[in-house]
């Protein structure tokens, strides 16, 4: 009953002094907002990475041969990194080795890419783009869908045609309200005919693909490559995970044999898979989740101290009330529970506001990025539990002070 009493008194006080309460609860609000925002964003990113990102970056059942690892897992030693730096560049010869190692590949494509200053059409320009020189089938392997015009064909490659398939952002910037197909764009000193546009990815990771221009590999190599023999990556897509794993082993073996590596030697190339990316993501998530407790507990401790002070003030201002309650039969524990309920309610109000703000931040992230905001029930349960803990913890001392008041002394106060 006096639990309800405490809750009711706390709610009345919060309502009567909204601004003061907001300041009182700011520590708890910040702590819980942060907690929920991080959980929401990380959970959302988690789903995104697992369901969309890894798939769209690497494709499903796809692996990619590169010179050295592009994803730093933080686990490699200095020495390992230096060793990788000595790996030779991939070449078209390596493409042949890979091709003959997996004759049953569903798709195989190779590419090189570089950042480039700008692309222009008449007086319109788009800065900071990426040029990709790729073999036929690259877009399909990446999972990009050419929505207008066509993709690259073996003919473009063989004839060295100056054609380009462009990303959606480039189309929007250069051809507002125009049909880009057949138009000539200028990249550096060269002119290219636009033959296709692929679908827009949008959002946070969209830049990479929406601001890219795809050229036939041979054209790219002659015109833009820094080192004409270079191939940046060779991607292989298989029909199933098992096939992919087998193909990966076959490619590894073939490249080692071709390079004359002996059994004890490390690979002088690197094979990336989406599962490698997911592993890395897992590590990032683990670091994030490891950092939360520290940051959250600091703000909650500060919030708890503020609530404790408010409760001490509240107790000091209500000594007579305590005296009256004791005079009509309240026991120590009744008073204790009342004030604990009061401090917990305050804290839970703060935590609830924090939960709402945190979800709001998550929704904001959802609105501006392709990541879904995902608030797991355990996150809310955790936040409320923390709210109760902070409330009880910060109320303990004030409530104890209230409970041990001598009734007659308390009645005489004021």
């Amino acid at each position: 009953m006096f639990v309800l009493e405490g809750i009711w008194i706390a709610l009345q006080q919060v309502w009567a002094h909204k601004l003061k309460s907001a300041f009182t609860l700011i520590g708890v609000i910040i702590g819980i907002t942060f907690l929920i925002a991080v959980i929401t964003v990380v959970e959302g990113m988690n789903r995104y990475v697992q369901e969309d990102f890894a798939g769209s970056l690497f494709g499903v059942n796809t692996f990619t041969v590169v010179r050295r690892s592009r994803i730093s897992t933080g686990a490699e030693t200095q020495e390992r990194r230096r060793e990788q730096a000595r790996n030779p560049d991939l070449t078209l010869h390596d493409v042949q080795v890979v091709r003959s190692a997996v004759p049953d590949a569903w798709r195989l494509a190779y590419s090189s890419d570089r950042g480039f200053d700008e692309v222009s059409y008449k007086d319109r320009r788009r800065r900071n783009i990426r040029l990709i020189g790729a073999s036929e089938g690259y877009e399909a392997l990446q999972g990009w869908e050419v929505t207008r015009g066509r993709g690259l064909t073996p003919l473009d490659e063989r004839r060295g045609l100056k054609v380009a398939v462009i990303g959606a952002e480039i189309e929007e910037k250069l051809f507002p309200g125009l049909d880009p197909i057949g138009k000539e764009i200028r990249i550096g000193s060269q002119r290219f005919e636009v033959v296709g546009v692929w679908d827009k990815q949008g959002g946070l990771f969209g830049n990479i693909r929406d601001a890219s221009i795809l050229l036939p590999f041979s054209v790219y190599r002659q015109t833009f490559a820094r080192d004409p023999s270079d191939v940046d990556q060779i991607s292989v897509k298989m029909r199933s995970l098992e096939e992919m794993e087998a193909a990966q082993l076959a490619v590894e073996g073939a490249l080692r044999a071709d390079r004359g590596l002996r059994p004890g030697d490390e690979n002088s190339f690197w094979i990336e898979t989406s599962s490698e990316l997911l592993d890395t993501w897992d590590k990032i998530v683990r670091v994030l989740f490891a950092a939360i407790p520290g940051l959250v507990s600091i703000s909650l401790v500060v919030g708890g101290i503020v609530i404790m002070n408010i409760m001490l003030l509240s107790v000091a201002g209500r000594v007579r009330e305590i005296g009256i309650r004791k005079a009509v039969g309240a026991r120590r524990r009744d008073i204790l529970i009342q004030f604990l309920a009061e401090s917990s309610t305050l804290s839970i109000v703060g935590a609830s506001i924090g939960i709402l703000l945190g979800i709001g931040i998550g929704k904001g992230v959802e609105a501006f990025t392709p990541m879904p905001a995902s608030v797991p029930p355990w996150g809310i349960a955790l936040a409320l539990t923390l709210g109760v803990l902070v409330g009880v913890g910060s109320g303990l001392y004030p409530a104890y002070r209230a409970a041990k008041q001598d009734p007659i002394v308390a009645l005489r106060s004021e």
């Binding site: 009953m1 006096f2 009493e5 009345q12 007579r320 009330e321 005296g323 009256i324 309650r325 004791k326 005079a327 009509v328 039969g329 309240a330 026991r331 120590r332 524990r333 009744d334 009734p407 007659i408 009645l411």
Partner: protein
């Protein structure tokens, strides 16, 4: 203590008994004998007025009887149970079940309605909400405040506030009703109303101890105990004949 009193005990149940009840206050080097050894007996359905000059120890005695305070020395037996040596929780229980206290300054919770103020002892008695409300309403009806249940103390007159306080004191059906100058803050007309309430309660069987300064009020009591300097100066049992007959 003498044989005659014991006989009366059997005939007319003693609910309060004190022996050498003493309360000392230390003020610097000086010891104040607020109560310097009080012996008294109170029987069921007595109506006792406690009088005496200011500072004679009336409130101190009331607070001890009401278990709000603990004596420095002496014995206090309530309903056959020695009160000294009880712990805080047991004292709280006695205040809750056995005692109804009415203060000069009302001591109502300012932000709570009349009904909630009256419910308070029932809350601490652990009585379920529905029964609680019904009892509290009945108690308010007893003091003619059935139509003021949702008023806050500051929406009530002094006399009404004191009647709320009386309802609160009565609601848990206490063995004894203690009132320390209940009309001290009220004008004479309102005092008259409040005294009527006490008389009605006494008539319906309630045991009452009341501190008062006013002789016309004390005259309605069956017995007047006069304190001076922390000691009982006189027992004026003017209703002896009536009591012997009960």
């Amino acid at each position: 203590m003498n044989g005659e009193q014991r006989m009366q005990t059997n005939a007319n149940e003693v609910i309060i008994e004190t022996h050498g009840l003493t309360k000392l206050y230390q003020m610097g080097s000086e010891t104040i004998h607020a109560l310097a050894g009080v012996d008294m007996q109170i029987r069921r359905n007595e109506y006792i007025a406690i009088m005496g000059p200011s500072g004679s120890g009336k409130s101190t005695l009331m607070n001890l009887i009401g278990c709000l305070d603990t004596p420095t020395d002496g014995e206090y037996i309530l309903n056959g149970t020695p009160v000294q040596g009880l712990d805080d929780d047991e004292l709280a229980r006695i205040r809750n079940r056995e005692i109804g206290f009415v203060f000069q300054t009302f001591n109502l919770l300012p932000r709570a309605s009349a009904l909630h103020n009256v419910e308070l002892p029932l809350i601490y008695a652990g009585i379920p909400a529905k029964e609680r409300q019904e009892k509290a309403r009945n108690a308010l009806a007893t003091v003619d405040l059935a139509d003021r249940t949702h008023h806050k103390p500051n929406e009530l007159s002094g006399g009404q506030r004191q009647r709320v306080a009386i309802a609160r004191a009565l609601v848990n059906d206490p063995s004894i009703l203690l009132a320390d100058e209940p009309t001290g803050n009220l004008d004479s007309k309102t005092s008259e109303e409040i005294m009527k309430v006490f008389e009605e309660l006494h008539a319906s069987g309630q045991t009452i101890i009341m501190v008062t300064h006013e002789h016309d009020i004390s005259e309605r009591a069956q017995r007047v105990v006069t304190l001076r300097d922390g000691l009982i100066e006189s027992h004026d049992a003017k209703a002896d004949g009536l009591m012997a007959g009960v």
